[in-house]
């Protein structure tokens, strides 16, 4: 049963989702009502989304477990692992706090979440937390007791939202990620000098094609090649690359189809570690 039930579930889910793909999509304009296939498919997609979200939690738990183990074993990268865990923990804490402003215990709220600045129609400003901004009223938690109150929407002129989570994102996460990506320019330049060799006919063709694409992609390319770079680039991309990509995509898709069929029919069981 340990093998049969997962295989049975895979076969049923795979067949249902595949059949639902070919069922006509609901379209009130053409009088096509949602079919039972769509209902089942929608339900399965919701389950899959939940499973992926749970997968994230498992990923976090695994990350913490592995890194804590390595910190305990005094791994040479311990400082980086500490930074990783601290960053993740703090970002998670601030993010969760912001998501639960409505329910959060007041001392935690005031320490973890920066308050919004609310400008009223009479020109005065109050600090508090905006929970919901509707057309008729704005729901807030404001000092001193941070109880939930409602004020008429027309009494609020503007709201300036502040977020520690976004501040961390803007000041640390975004610049660090952009820096990592920018380093590619330096490493590609180094690799171009050290590794790209015209050792064979194929390698020479690849190098020539790469150079043409690089020239055709930038304004200076045409000026340096008497206007030849752009048409050559267009020919390569619109014919050679297009044909090659189509062949690869069709080949890969047939492979995916065959593997999918094998899984749905219970012939492929590698996902069960068999």
């Amino acid at each position: 049963m340990k093998r049969e039930i997962p295989i049975l579930l895979t076969v049923i889910c795979g067949l249902l989702v595949t059949l639902a793909y070919f069922a006509p999509a609901p379209d009130p304009a053409r009088g096509i009502e949602p079919s039972a296939w769509q209902a089942v498919n929608s339900e399965l997609l919701d389950w899959a989304t939940i499973l992926v979200a749970v997968g994230f939690l498992l990923g976090i738990a695994n990350l913490v477990r592995i890194n804590l183990k390595q910190i305990a074993a005094k791994h040479p990268d311990t400082p980086y692992k500490v930074v990783l865990l601290l960053s993740m923990g703090l970002f998670l804490l601030f993010g969760m706090a912001e998501m639960h402003v409505k329910w959060l215990w007041t001392p935690l709220l005031t320490h973890l979440v920066p308050s919004d600045s609310i400008e009223r129609a009479d020109g005065t400003r109050i600090e508090g937390y905006v929970l919901e901004r509707g057309d008729k009223e704005v729901t807030l938690r404001t000092a001193p007791d941070y109880a939930v109150t409602k004020v008429p929407a027309d009494s609020v002129k503007s709201i300036t939202k502040r977020s520690l989570k976004i501040w961390i994102y803007d000041k640390f996460f975004a610049p660090l990620q952009a820096t990592m990506f920018s380093l590619l320019a330096f490493y590609i330049a180094s690799a171009a000098f050290r590794a790209f060799r015209a050792r064979s006919v194929e390698a020479t063709l690849l190098l020539a094609a790469g150079a043409i694409v690089m020239l055709g992609q930038v304004p200076l390319g045409d000026e340096l090649t008497f206007g030849l770079a752009t048409p050559m680039h267009a020919f390569l991309m619109g014919n050679v690359v297009k044909a090659g990509q189509r062949a690869i995509i069709i080949g890969a898709s047939l492979g995916v189809l065959a593997t999918g069929l094998r899984i749905v029919l219970g012939l492929e069981r590698s996902y069960l570690s068999e």
Partner: protein, 281 residues
């Protein structure tokens, strides 16, 4: 004689740094001629009747923001200019701060009202599965919006979209990788017949040629495509002209960075073949 492998690569890093920083500081702009792929992208938006609903998907993060953020903002300007309504989603977890920032700056310039002219649905976890869910039922995928956490049906715009995506006239995906345009094509394009246009990073662009013009109606390939598109849109949008000028400056930097790389390939090969000939002699 030093071989390419023994050469201190810090000199190459320095050369690249000097080219990038020096030319950027010089501030010289390099306009580009348009390509048919960019013109098709622009025309697809132009051809939509006013009031049509466009699903805009931010499938990128800060790593690719230098390439993709200018085109993302330009698309929002263009859609609002044409009085099209936008349903914004994100399939990358780090995208929503960009999208919120962009809309909070651009929407007021066109006096667009949240919930009527645009709505922010935020990030949906699940990669391909999430895209399938959006196609199957936007309401089920996003029971609430992400700015106000209000119910789906409380927004006139989302009521116009309806349950599935039949109300969507066009999908614009600004895509940096997986999940992105290549996953949207089977999930929304082929399945529900929603026309797709896209803007992508340089590494994601070559596969798109295989899908043009059927599955993808037009595309912006990397910074080059973004600059070409900005040149077209900025003509009628003074707010976009600084971004267009900035991108044209970046194109000159990119031009010379490409020249440096080509030069390094040539020099590396000359050294390699000279050394090999000497060794054979």
């Amino acid at each position: 004689m030093a071989t390419p492998r023994s050469f201190d690569r810090r000199w190459i890093f320095l050369a690249m740094g000097v080219v990038v920083v020096g030319l950027y500081a010089a501030g010289i702009r390099a306009p580009l001629p348009n390509s048919r792929y960019v013109e098709s992208f622009h025309k697809t938006i132009e051809d939509l009747p006013a009031g049509s609903i466009v699903l805009l998907s931010a499938d990128f993060d800060p790593a690719s923001a230098a390439e993709l953020e200018p085109m993302y903002k330009a698309v929002i300007h263009h859609l609002f200019q044409r009085n099209l309504r936008i349903v914004n989603v994100a399939t990358w977890p780090a995208a929503p701060p960009f999208t919120r920032d962009a809309f909070s700056r651009i929407a007021p310039q066109y006096h667009k009202q949240y919930g009527v002219d645009w709505v922010e649905l935020g990030f949906l976890v699940g990669d391909d599965v999430a895209l399938g869910s959006i196609g199957q039922s936007l309401r089920s995928a996003y029971p609430t919006d992400t700015l106000n956490h209000s119910a789906y049906d409380s927004f006139p715009l989302l009521r116009a979209v309806g349950d599935s995506c039949q109300g969507i006239a066009l999908l614009v995906t600004i895509s940096a990788g997986f999940p992105g345009v290549l996953e949207w094509i089977p999930q929304l394009g082929s399945r529900y017949g929603v026309p797709i246009i896209t803007g992508t990073t340089a590494v994601q662009t070559p596969p798109l040629f295989a899908y043009y013009p059927n599955q993808i109606k037009g595309f912006l390939g990397a910074a080059t495509g973004a600059t070409q598109y900005l040149q077209m849109v900025a003509e009628n949008t003074p707010e976009l002209q600084p971004t267009r000028d900035e991108n044209q400056k970046r194109m000159l930097v990119q031009s010379w960075a490409h020249m440096l790389i080509i030069g390094l390939i040539v020099v590396g090969n000359v050294i390699y073949f000279t050394g090999r000939r000497k060794a054979q002699a």
